[in-house]
Amino acid sequence: MSRLRVRDVTVRFASLTALSNVRLEVDAGEVVSLVGPNGAGKTTLFNVITGFVQPVAGTVRLDGQRLNGRGSARISRLGVARTFQVARPFPELTVEDNVIVALGRASYPHPLRTFGRARTPARRERAHGLLTEVGLPEPYDRPAGDLPVGHLRLLEVGRALATDPKVLLLDEPAAGLREPEVAQLERVVARLRERGLAVVLVEHNVPLALRAADRVIVLAGGEVIAEGTPDEVRADRTVIEAYLGTANA
Amino acid sequence: MQDLVSGIALGSTYVLLAIGLSMIYGILRIIHVAHAGVYVIGAWAGYLVWRSTGSLLLAVIAGAVAGAVAGVAVLQLVYRPMLDKPRYVPLIASVGVFILVADLMAKPWLLGPNPHQMNVKPPLPALRVGDIGVSGTALFVVLTAALLLVMLWLVFSRTQVGLRWQAIAADRELAGASGIDVNRAVLSNFAFGSALAGAAGVAYAAYTGSVFATMGDVPSYKAFVVVVLGGLGNVWGTVVAGFGLALLETLLIANFGYLLPRDALAFIVLILVLMVRPRGLFGRAVA
């Protein structure tokens, strides 16, 4: 059984159909890239999976357990983490605190543990470990708002990992990153796959998306127009047309 | 039916006051509490002119001019340096301006602590249709409001200025990037909205027959109810909400008496409406 299974999801905003019968399956230890032109519905699909947008039809399941209909906080606690298209750190919190915030998923909803101490030495160490792992240089005690854009993205990946997810959704993580940072990110994704995470990668940098993925899904106009291994997708005529903008002709 | 008439007259003053607030919110996203101070300043100027000339029309014009001047002064002196600050910053400053104006107005060298009578000679003849009477003053208030609203509509829909206001309200950065002089457009928006508040102050004073330093307190809160119900920044929603609220208040009180103080009624309506429609009756849907 797939770790994450999205079935026939349809989303409408007023009269606009943002997603129509979209299917997506990701296994543990698999990286799936989601590519497609702007407005194809990639971020909307992330919003559906994480409970920010309710589909009018279809289901989202994690290890067979239904996710859609649950709140986004609950979905996060069940093991789905994400980053945002525009990096959204907590700007006034320190870099370290940004990660520590994400370490409390078991304590937040608990009536007693919610009053427990958050910044223990062990958790600070874990936060530092995660930040090092994603390649964010020190110092970690300055406000996250002071970081350059590229570092904000790395911080967001570290923060998402701190929730100890089973599924990680990365929304254009390489945007704004410089070459060495992109390479670092690629290494991180490869490591996560080895560790058994299911990773979905939305990426405009198509070479990167194809390089990092086991499978690629191409979305256009809210529909899946192609699916396969990177090599299959690279050779697909419909995909080439969609990217050249002649698909509607 | 008689209640309907007084509801419409009262609604006219609500709308005139609230619409400027809504325009200003739409363009600057400021909770402009000091608008009520502008309203009192307008009423004061109108009162002075009425006392020396006896003309209500001149008084309304004076109120509008004084309102515009006061509003622009608040914009330039107070809000201008804090537009990029967190939202509570202009809010607190606005409250400061309002407290300051209300306190100064109560000084003997301005309006003083006691109400002044403003028994205007009705500028229009009274109307009588069946058993419904409309006083000349009420008629004047309604017609003035109607005239100003038509003018505003023309400005919004037919002039460059109105288009610029709409562009800025929709997206200030984009409007600025596409070559609109945002500062100037905000200035004219403020001047126009504040002029309406000044005129509203005179209209309300003439309608109720008195001018006093704290006359802005209740309208300031109520105008916000109207603006929020109208969908914060939605100018035409504000018109509907203003008349709707005035009619509802008047009719409820006429038929059921004072279940709660009249001013609490507005807030009950506000809370109930927000619980059903969290962005006001005519608010844009959440993106």
């Binding site: 996060s76 915030v101 | 340096p81 202009p90 607190i92 409250v95 609490a264 807030f267 809370i271 927000l274």
Partner: protein, 304 residues
């Protein structure tokens, strides 16, 4: 202590407790409330009613005020789940008017004439002198400040900070933001309830007009003057604005004009309040001192 000093301490202390309550909502959780006087009123009326109608002792009244304040304010916090940003501000203003109207309208709550002639505060049969009362108020203030500090170290406090910074991102990390909003209101209600109880017993009476919208504004002004988001700011701002009318006695006629001017100038010059000013001043002082003595190691820029 002179009677004058005592009254400054008691009122300053009560306002400071209320400012700490507002800071819990607005400073910690980012929920802007302009209806804090309503939550204050819930505590004051609970104490007054219990003391007059049920003849409960002072401390019991105070404890129940905190409890009732917490429960009712938490319930009102449910309203905050539907609205956000400016609409939340207006909802809290509406709640303020509504609560005052209810107290003013219903005879059971004393109506417009209020509730008067509360018994003197007694603890274990001993009547509290004004001086002792002042100490008690300071002790309660110390307690709520300490509790507020402690809160920041917990998951709850951390989660509220995340909620303040970015609600959606907070939810995406598993923070139950809806529940946390209600909890923030409830905690603020407990603290405001305490303030209300202390206020009612000191005055010996409560009137609806003591809890109007301008009181909410005043509390917000205290917090902003001191420094929103800081506990020191809440306390400093409250005591300063309480003492101000006395300091300005020669200008008593222009008290509100000056209050208005202060509000405008503070947010114009220092929107982070007096605490913010002090912090920046200390930082620059430390930098200058540090440069004079040693050159700081590369990459360790001073930032508090």
């Amino acid at each position: 202590m002179s009677g004058y000093l005592i009254s400054i301490i008691v009122f300053g202390g009560v306002w400071a407790i209320l400012a700490v309550s507002l800071n819990l909502l607005t400073g910690e959780a980012g929920l802007v409330s302009l209806g804090q006087a309503a939550f204050f009123a819930l505590g004051a009326y609970t104490s007054a009613l219990l003391a007059l109608r049920a003849e409960l002792p002072f401390l019991a009244c105070l404890a129940i005020s905190a409890l009732v304040g917490g429960v009712l304010t938490g319930a009102l916090g449910l309203l905050a789940l539907r609205v956000r940003d400016d609409f939340l501000v207006f909802t809290t203003i509406g709640v303020n008017f509504l609560v005052v109207a209810v107290f003013q309208y219903f005879e059971a709550f004393g109506g417009a004439l209020g509730l008067v002639a509360l018994p003197f505060a007694e603890v274990a049969g001993v009547r509290l002198t004004p001086q002792r009362y002042a100490w008690l108020v300071l002790a309660v203030l110390g307690l709520v400040v300490a509790a507020s500090f402690a809160l920041r170290r917990t998951w709850l406090g951390t989660g509220l900070a995340a909620l303040r910074e970015d609600e959606q991102a907070a939810r995406a990390l598993g923070i139950p933001t809806r529940a946390y909003k209600v909890v923030a209101f409830a905690l603020a209600g407990v603290v405001a309830g305490l303030a209300g109880g202390l206020y009612a017993f000191y005055l010996g009476s409560v009137f609806p007009q003591n809890f109007g919208f301008l009181v909410s504004i005043q509390v917000m002004a205290m917090l902003v003057l001191g420094g929103l988001g800081t506990l020191a700011g809440a306390v400093i701002g409250a005591f300063l604005l309480t003492a101000l009318p006395e300091v300005l006695r020669p200008l008593a006629d222009y008290r509100y004009t000056i209050l208005g001017l202060i509000l405008i100038l503070v947010v114009m010059v220092a929107p982070d309040g007096l605490v913010g000013v002090a912090r920046r001043w200390l930082t620059s002082l430390r930098r200058r001192g540090g440069q004079a003595e040693t050159t700081p190691p590369a990459g360790s820029e001073a930032r508090p």
